[in-house]
């Protein structure tokens, strides 16, 4: 059958799908919804969110335009067997130019704009007075270590790790003086509005540190000392989840980030030291 009934059905379906796909994005933008990034609580987060929004606008419009044009052109094509063939005005030349200039410009613009957001997270070093916290990722939990009043971390001895006796970091307080006042915690507690310098150590295999609300994510690489820094802007409890496949417990590997007021944080720290 040479008629274009199938083409017309295709056109309708593809346009409907495109419009339906846009609905959750539009409802998120204007109404807020579950399937959307959660509220941002970091100082660098707004830049990332803006980047996502800008990209969503451009990508979303391109997506809609392409699908709708596809629908329209398929609707109009075909029909009678001897219909006159037409060529798109200008042929390929303008389309190629449009792709190179417009898309190229768009890509470069977004790329350039995003550099600052990336740089704020990765190119700046932590402030000198940032609070140092070490996080160790291991199958299948995160443990956090504070240096204690002496400001120094004890050395990690992998062979001394003994989870049964809560020696998660393999510390040796008997022989290692700086280790004696180190505070280990299963929860990451930080004060609000203070920069945190997070030092990341992998105990066994690869893991990753992800807090959605902080707009932060970074892999732990065994053998590499990596670090992150960020400042949380809102008090509350947030989930830290592992995002690098690490074995059977990967889905369950998480900890809580507890952002407290400065007073509460000081109280907590004092309670841990004793």
């Amino acid at each position: 059958m040479r008629g274009n009934m199938g083409g017309k059905v295709f056109a309708v379906i593809v346009i409907v799908i495109a419009l339906l796909s846009a609905v959750p994005i539009i409802t998120h933008t204007f109404l807020g919804a579950t399937v959307a990034p959660p509220e941002d609580i970091s100082t660098h987060g707004p830049q990332i969110d803006k980047q996502i929004d800008d990209t969503m606008l451009e990508a979303g419009l391109s997506f809609l335009a392409a699908q709708i044009v596809l629908g329209f052109f398929v609707w109009g094509a075909g029909g009678k067997k001897d219909a006159k063939l037409k060529n798109f005005p200008g042929g390929a030349r303008y389309l190629v130019l449009a792709a190179i200039l417009l898309v190229g410009a768009e890509a470069i613009a977004l790329g350039a704009l995003g550099t600052k957001a990336w740089g704020d997270v990765y190119f700046k070093t932590a402030a000198a007075d940032a609070i140092p916290i070490q996080v160790q990722a291991g199958q299948f939990a995160f443990y956090f270590r504070y240096p204690g009043p002496d400001g120094k971390y004890g050395a990690i001895h992998p062979e001394k790790i003994d989870e049964g006796n809560s020696n998660f970091f393999g510390l040796d307080p008997e022989n290692d003086v700086p280790a004696r006042d180190d505070i280990t915690s299963g929860e990451m507690v930080i004060p609000v509005n203070k920069e945190i310098h997070l030092m990341m150590h992998a105990k066994d295999v690869g893991h990753s540190f992800y807090v959605r609300e902080l707009r932060i994510q970074q892999d732990f690489v065994p053998g590499l000392d990596l670090s992150l820094h960020f400042t949380a802007t809102k008090v509350g409890k947030y989930e830290i989840v592992c995002t690098q496949l690490c074995g059977l417990g990967h889905y369950n590997m998480k900890a809580y980030l507890n952002v407290m007021s400065q007073d509460d944080y000081d109280k907590w720290l004092k309670a841990q030291s004793s």
């Binding site: 796909s21 399937v35 392409a66 052109f73 067997k81 390929a92 190179i100 990336w118 066994d204 074995g247």
Partner: protein, 591 residues
Amino acid sequence: MSEASAPVAHHGPPQSFIRKHVFSLDHKVIGKQYYALALVAVVTGMVLSWLMRIHLVWPNAPIPGLGLLSKTGAPGGVMTPEYYLSLMTMHGTLMVFFVLTNAPFAAFGNYFLPIQIGAEDMAFPRFNMMSFWTTFIAFVILISAFFVGDGPPLAGWTAYAPLSAVGKDSGPGEGLGQTLWGLSIFVFCIASLLGALNFIATTLDLRTKGMTLARMPISTWAWFITSCISLLAFAVLMPACLLLILDRTAGTSFFIPSGLNISDHLQPHQGGSPLLWQHLFWFFGHPEVYIAILPAIGIVSHILINSMRKPMLSHKAIIYCMMGIGFLSYMVWGHHMFLSGMNPFSALVFSFPTLMITIPATIMTLIWLGSLYGSRLRITAASLFALGFISMFVSGGVSGFFLAQPSIDIYLHATYFVVGHFHMVMGVAAIFGIFSGTYFWFPKMTGHMMNENLGKLHFWLTFIGTYCIFMPFHYLGLAGNVRRYSAFSDDFLVPLIPVHKFITYAALFTGAAQLIFLYNLLYSRFKGAVAPANPWECTSLEWVMPSPPPWDNFGGKHVVVYHDPYQYGDVQSSTGDYLMQDSPERAGQTP
């Protein structure tokens, strides 16, 4: 130019059953063998995906029969978390290697590349036969991982070290199964290299008289470019797998650093670099995804032109774009590693060419769209899947635009957004290319027509179904839904489970719809209407001879080519609105 323009056949007609159907030197048989293997792999991979989706939304439900496959992995039929990850690993490995590299490239390419260039067979028929059977051996090794004591590997198709490199200590699934995985992929690399070798040599040396490179169909160009990419990519994965196997079995430390305490065992390795595995793997892995999509682009373009009854606005532009994508594909591997701990400056270096790939992809899309305008589009199952490909390519492509930017990747990395992106381009668009090619070329390959109505039904259900499955992945990703989780127990994930339920229903529905395709395939093979030589009125050389072609493709005739393969439209030929490539009639002016 010498008169003997077509090569003398390397081998005589096959006599025995074994030579005809098993250890065949005929590229057509080998192509069908690859297709059959891909079919087995895709059905297996699809069933695995059903098991995964069912477990995600009903984690404690016993799945009938699963306990038989693995007593430890699914005691009483209830899947353990490690078994979920194992099934996920096998799903990815089967689909990426044994389906997406095999079907559009090895299956259709083997069958049609020689014919489309007017050759009697591939350049090295014995290597060709070896490449299929080596692929088969790789497949058997991979499947055997299901049946070893510790089960299949669970490190994902990406097998990151040290999880994949230290051996049993890193957990269940990381015993013999992972080593078998490494061995299977190593063998697969050998097979792919042999295949690529054949494609390249054949394209360069065995084109018939008049078949210049410029006159090759887009599908042939796609196979040729893909084989060039393949050659260099698989040549890197091979040593990577070798080093992984050595780390696992010989105590070396290529990828394993010192001081690792895994399961209370201090690992004896030292000094290795987990990032080294990632660099080697992704240097292969990124070109690999273009190996998966480029043949589909070529097949779909070729079929679209035939269905539109008019040439593309510029089919040269499509070919240059494919070349550009192939070239750029080697410069972007670090975009899989933005957050891996490599130098953050390199993230910007990799981001730039990644964004630039948007340009050739957009050029192709605009040319497809612009060419549709004013065409005399014929709606068939094949052309519907080709149109569906364009829609899916756009959908999958725009999500790439987000992921290409490192700042956005900070949020979206390792979420379902990524899974949605690659499933749309690979799991749907490339598969649509395979479907389109199947409906188009089945008559030529088997001598029977497929049922068009069933084919169209298959399209509608699959097109709508796959959108229902994979579009929601992007929303889940924007909400931060982490991937590779066997269950959703985190506070922020629990509210998303209803979305996952919808996806699972859509996946099961769409999976069931594929039975229509399988039924159509098998029924038509034996009972379908007899196919004429050129049912689609197509111009390329595979339609010159009867369906299916004789053993030496052209019956001993030396085909001569007179013009490019896209003489459609107002060509004033005796056949109507198209001119075969081997027709000496003058090519008319295209409108």
